[in-house]
């Protein structure tokens, strides 16, 4: 590696880190948290005995899982202005990723809720709890144990999927790497640095997942 390349890499470390911290990570966290809220709502709708309600949830999940994320991003950023709805790049990306996580995580949450034995609902009800209290205090805490590994997958995928936001002008990690590489043709070096950054973020999340799983297992026989 020549001196010029080394210097370029060193010069890029700061800007790429800044893009990671100010754009990639916030985009991931905001979208994931909002996405989980959407997912819980969709999962509960999907479990509803009212057919119209569960039908709406079913269609939503099907559309989200059946179309490319890149296309969802394009429809929200480039398509909606035709209907008079316009978003800045970052909010557009948050909306797209939120809806996407909402679709995928809904199925995870639904199956996790179903994995909690019916007896838990009955027992909660015999000590006087209603639907909302039972869900919040009895069912979701137990469902969380089942849901954490697959939801961690969703989160880790999301970290990398945020790179798609580079196509709608969000100056996140990949975009900054692209912009730095273009004038110098040092694609290998700069994309390499970007890859390492993505990897480190995902490593940290995997570590967090293990800790969370250990905490969740405190009430289960080894």
């Amino acid at each position: 590696m020549n001196e010029q390349t080394t210097q370029l890499i060193l010069d890029s470390l700061g800007p790429l880190l800044r893009a990671t911290v100010t754009s990639t990570i916030p985009l991931t966290i905001i979208s994931f948290v909002l996405g989980l809220v959407v997912a819980l709502g969709v999962a509960l709708m999907r479990l509803s005995k009212v057919r119209v309600v569960s039908g709406i949830a079913r269609v939503y999940i099907s559309v989200i899982r059946g179309t490319p994320l890149l296309l969802q991003l394009f429809i929200i950023f480039y398509g909606l202005p035709a209907l008079g709805v316009q978003f800045d790049p970052f909010p557009a990306a948050v909306i797209a990723f939120t809806l996407n996580v909402g679709g995928y995580a809904a199925e995870v949450i639904r199956s996790a809720i179903l994995s909690v034995p019916k007896g838990q609902w009955e027992a909660a009800s015999t000590v006087g709890m209603g639907y909302a209290t039972t869900l919040r205090r009895v069912v979701l805490p137990q469902a969380a144990r089942t849901a954490i590994p697959p939801l961690s997958n969703t989160l880790i995928s999301l970290v990398k999927d945020t790179s798609l936001a580079s196509t709608i002008q969000v100056t996140e990690l990949l975009r900054v790497a692209q912009e730095a590489a273009a004038p110098t043709y040092q694609f290998f070096a700069l994309y390499g640095v970007a890859a390492v950054y993505y990897w480190v973020v995902c490593l940290a999340l995997s570590f967090g997942q293990s800790r969370l799983e250990r905490r969740q297992n405190r009430y289960v026989a080894a």
């Binding site: 007896g119 015999t126 006087g128 709890m129 805490p141 009430y219």
Partner: protein, 263 residues
């Protein structure tokens, strides 16, 4: 605080009355027409072959199974199941009258023993946490598990889990205790400790309805025994009448089978 003070209805008065209870699951009729009364402070034991409907009777008393027809009254709350729809509010009011002990205990695995007991009082009945905890500790002592307050359910034996289940049901201050085969899932050597607690409760004046195969428990503790078969009450009376000298062939055969399984 004495446990007796929790049962407000004077002993002897009718606390529970059930009339015309009927229930089908699809094409399968489980209960045809069930009528019985439970006096306050008395123990009623339901026995019968599997599929006889005894568990469905019990689960109709707190509307975990919603009957198709008939009335259930517990103290001052009455639900007529023929009137459709039976509202959530009615179900909740009826369910709040009783405490339920399940065959598979259904303790909340993510909560400690103490939290299992205070969940109902604090989260549902909105009682003060301190007071609920004090009462919960007292109930744990009553079932002989005073030192297990901070354990998680998985750390207990089956018999201990079931005793926590009993304490959890008592913690919501019910007027009536329902037991659905509380010892059927236990290893034989653990059955006694659970029956002992139930016997103590009966002695303290709790009104109890118990579905069980423990004939000796019924003989010693029951005031009234109901023998169900095919969704109807075939025999009813004192333990001596139903268990010692049954009048019907069906009851005789059933008792013979469970008392002498090898015969």
């Amino acid at each position: 605080m004495s446990q007796l003070s929790m049962s407000p209805t004077p002993a002897g008065d009718s606390l529970v009355s059930v009339s015309g209870l009927a229930k089908s699951f699809g094409d399968h009729t489980v209960l045809r027409s069930i009528d019985f009364e439970v006096a306050s402070g008395s123990v009623t034991v339901l026995i019968g072959p599997s599929g006889s409907g005894k568990t469905t009777v019990l689960r109709s008393l707190n509307a975990l199974d919603v009957a198709d027809a008939g009335r259930v009254r517990i103290d001052d709350v009455e639900v007529d199941f023929a009137e459709r729809p039976v509202t959530k509010k009615q179900v909740a009011a009826l369910r709040a009258q009783s405490g339920m002990v399940f065959q598979a205990h259904h303790l909340f695995p993510h909560l400690t023993v103490l939290e299992n007991l205070t969940a109902g009082p604090v989260l549902a009945q909105r009682r003060a946490r301190d007071e609920a905890q004090t009462e919960a500790r007292e109930l744990l002592r009553l079932v002989g598990l005073g030192e297990k307050a901070d354990a998680y359910p998985f750390q207990l034996s089956g018999g201990q889990q079931q005793r926590v289940g009993i304490a959890r049901a008592l913690a919501v201050r019910p007027k009536l205790m329902l037991f659905d085969e509380p010892t059927s899932a236990l290893d034989p050597e653990l059955v006694g400790e659970v029956l002992k607690v139930m016997k103590d409760l009966a002695a303290q004046g709790w009104t109890m309805v118990v579905v069980t195969h423990e004939i000796r428990f019924a003989q010693q503790v029951a005031d009234q025994v109901l023998f169900l078969d095919g969704g109807v009450i075939v025999e009813r009376g004192t333990p001596a009448e139903v268990l010692t000298s049954p009048r019907t062939e069906r009851a005789r055969q059933f008792l013979h089978r469970i008392l002498d399984p090898l015969d």
